[in-house]
């Protein structure tokens, strides 16, 4: 655990540079796989550095799967892909006991499923049944799988990168809130402009991504995690983060009046923790030894939007959670422009 007491010291600039270089290297590699989606790539890297799971939502063909595949290739870690379908069973993911005969002895041997990898791509996760989706709950939070009363640790690090399609919702099962809460980010993959399309046309043949060599091994990744943990979170920023998360709850004194009646349930403390951790990773990516207000502001939308449950009013008015988060960020500016207010 990072020590945030005043006696703590900040990371040495060289270490920060090293961590930033690792992340920028990954970013460069991912940029080759996915052209024109810098912000998306940054969020993926932040989620990776913060050891959080990522949910990508976007239309088909935007490169979600390619991004995750590229990440798996660059990290030189075990990578598995699970295509979620309605008939997928939990055992198909977690694995299960298999009767095995060895030297005349028959025994059940646990056969690991595809979830036993450092990087798991859960493609079109909303197409699987809730029963199957729930198989990911323990894996994502506890980093282990329990089958027939026997727990099996997942490899460390362990990431789930899931994708889902916002259209073709027939025959899909929206992820329950408990599972959504386990994703650090839910990122909407935006469409690309004509200039990006032009670049894709010029750099892709038959849609194949360029070959990618691993640039980061598990040790380097662990080193990266250690650096992220040493990023300093100032009290002022932590206070702002807490205010932001607290304001998502209806009836909170921090909540702006504009959101009155729009939110039914707010973000959990897990969201506040996620925001802080993501802020640390973001600061390292920016080459800073401490988290800044801007980190929290920029990450609030991907961290909080999938954790908010809208009330009828917001639904009727056609508001999205992302819009409400933007309002929160705007209204709960860490320090107002006029620096009004007194001792609080």
């Amino acid at each position: 655990m990072p020590d945030n007491t005043p006696s703590s010291t900040l990371l040495d600039p060289r270490e920060v540079e090293r961590g930033q270089a690792l992340l920028l290297g990954l970013k460069e590699g991912l940029s080759q796989a996915l052209i024109g989606q810098d912000r998306l790539i940054e969020l993926c890297l932040i989620a990776l550095a913060a050891r959080g799971h990522l949910l990508l939502e976007g239309l088909p063909g935007l490169g979600k799967t390619e991004l995750v595949k590229a990440m798996g290739a660059l990290l030189d870690m075990d990578f598995s892909r699970v295509q979620f379908t309605p008939d997928l069973l939990p055992g198909d993911i977690t694995g299960g006991p298999v009767l095995q005969e060895t030297e005349g002895q028959r025994s059940f041997v646990f056969q690991k499923g595809p979830i036993f990898a450092h990087l798991v791509l859960a493609d079109e996760i909303n197409r699987a049944s809730p029963k199957t989706q729930s198989a990911l709950l323990e894996a994502m939070q506890e980093h282990r799988v329990t089958v027939l009363g026997e727990s099996h640790d997942l490899p460390d690090p362990f990431f789930v990168l899931a994708t889902q399609n916002p259209i073709e919702l027939e025959g899909t099962y929206p992820l329950p809130e408990a599972q959504l809460d386990r994703f650090l980010f839910k990122v909407d993959v935006p469409g690309v402009g004509s200039d990006v399309l032009e670049a894709i046309l010029l750099n892709r043949r038959r849609g194949q991504t360029p070959r990618m060599d691993p640039i980061m091994d598990a040790q380097q990744l662990q080193e990266l995690f250690d650096l992220v943990d040493q990023i300093y979170l100032p009290e002022a920023v932590a206070r702002y983060t807490a205010r932001l998360v607290s304001a998502t709850h209806p009836g909170s004194p921090e909540a702006p009046t504009e959101l009155e009646g729009c939110l039914r349930y707010g973000a959990s403390p897990r969201a506040a923790i996620a925001l802080g951790e993501a802020g640390r990773a973001s600061a390292l990516l920016a080459g800073r030894p401490n988290v800044d207000f801007s980190d929290i502001e920029q990450l609030a939308r991907p961290v909080l939007s999938h954790r908010l449950i809208l009330d009828h009013r917001a639904r009727i008015e056609g508001r999205t959670p992302a819009e409400l988060v933007d309002i929160l960020v705007r209204e709960l500016s860490p320090v107002s422009e006029n620096l009004s207010g007194g001792r609080s």
Binding site: E235, V291, F293, G342
Partner: protein, 481 residues
Amino acid sequence: MALSSPQSELKHLNRLLRLRTFARSFSRCTLAMGLLAGALLLSVRLFGIELQPSPLWLLGLLLPIAWAIGAVRIQTPDAASQADWLDRKRQLGGLLVTSREVDLGPWKDQLDSSLARSDREDPKLGLARPFMALAAPISLWIVVLFLPPQARSSKPWESLQAHRLQRFEEQLDKLEETKALEEEEIQSLQERVRALQQKLDKGETLDWEEVDGLDRLLDQSKHERLVKLQEALNAAKTLQETLDSSDPALSDLKAPALQDLLDKLDDAGILADIPLDTFDSLSTDPSDAPDSTGLELPEALAQALGRMDAEGKSLPVGLPMDGEALEKLAKALGEACEGACEGLAAEGLQAADLEDLEALLEEYKACLSRGKGAGGRPKAGVGKGGVDEGPGHAKLHYVNETEGDRSSLVTRKLPKGRKPSTEWQTLGVSRGSPQIDPKRSTNQTSGTSAGAKASHRRRLSPHHREVVRRYFSESDSKKKK
């Protein structure tokens, strides 16, 4: 461009914020206080209390200053908030807020260079609005302070008191003209009235007791004057009876009676009003008096008649040798006394005094009529074939005047198209029915007063009084014709 350290930047920001908080709080408090005090001052002036501006009023600014100082202590954002604000505004990447918690170490140079690179952007002080807000109370104060001094508005009762004093002064002037009172008495009362008027003009509060006391003093003076006149009238009656008597024993009393009458007339102050030729019949020889001592003429009369010796003492005179001349002198003196009595009665007397005077005059007139002998035609009064004018000419006496209490008087609007009668005039204001002075009607036509009084007690409306007055005036004029 800022080239200073984070601490100096924070101090600079802190100074600006304190200045802004002070200015805003001071202007708000001054605005509220100024408007409140201005409204209060305006109200006070509208109620006639004059307040002259004083430099001490500037001490009132101490309150906004104290308020602003308190606001600076309470409302100024704390150092952490200021650091947050500065960090964000100058885009210092959180290094400034971090520096408040941990040692930046090698990152300090980066913080300094970031501060140096970024442009200083001070928070908006917004001093224009606070100072514009001060314009409202300042304008109000200018208007209020430059208002012309409000003339002292008299209280409602003060105007009544002034009116009362004015009426009293007019009454005194009338008394002075008619000489119903002695001049010294009138002057004394006039001085008192002037003193009260001066107090009223100075804005001092007059007690109604002082105003009402004037009436009592006047009544007292009238009463004293009446007593003297009554004494003179009694002396005149005594002299007349002495002259009418055939008793020789009483003939020696003629001189003392005349002397007494002269003394009483002198006391009453009406001797000077009697024509000097009235005393022509007086003998210059004192031995003409029965006791040979002569009459002691009052000094003023002796001086007027030229009966003074070298030492300035009045010379004694003798009675007229002719009895008829003596009787004429007595009658003239008596009539002068009677006239003075009637004049005093005409100026108003208390009811009891009036009745006494009336009785005395009746007796005196009866005495005179008896002196005319049995040939005199008996006077016919009410109920005896005589005619009495009734209360038509009688003077009304208003008692318990209610100058200060007009609450019982109700203003009523006349019916549409009807003009107020021009015949009406305010004779006085009273709580009760006016008392009727029967003096005017107790002249030659009334024999006794009993019946007349009865008729005088009848209530007559002003209109009826006017009819009665007109009737008798017409009959008198016809008789004259």
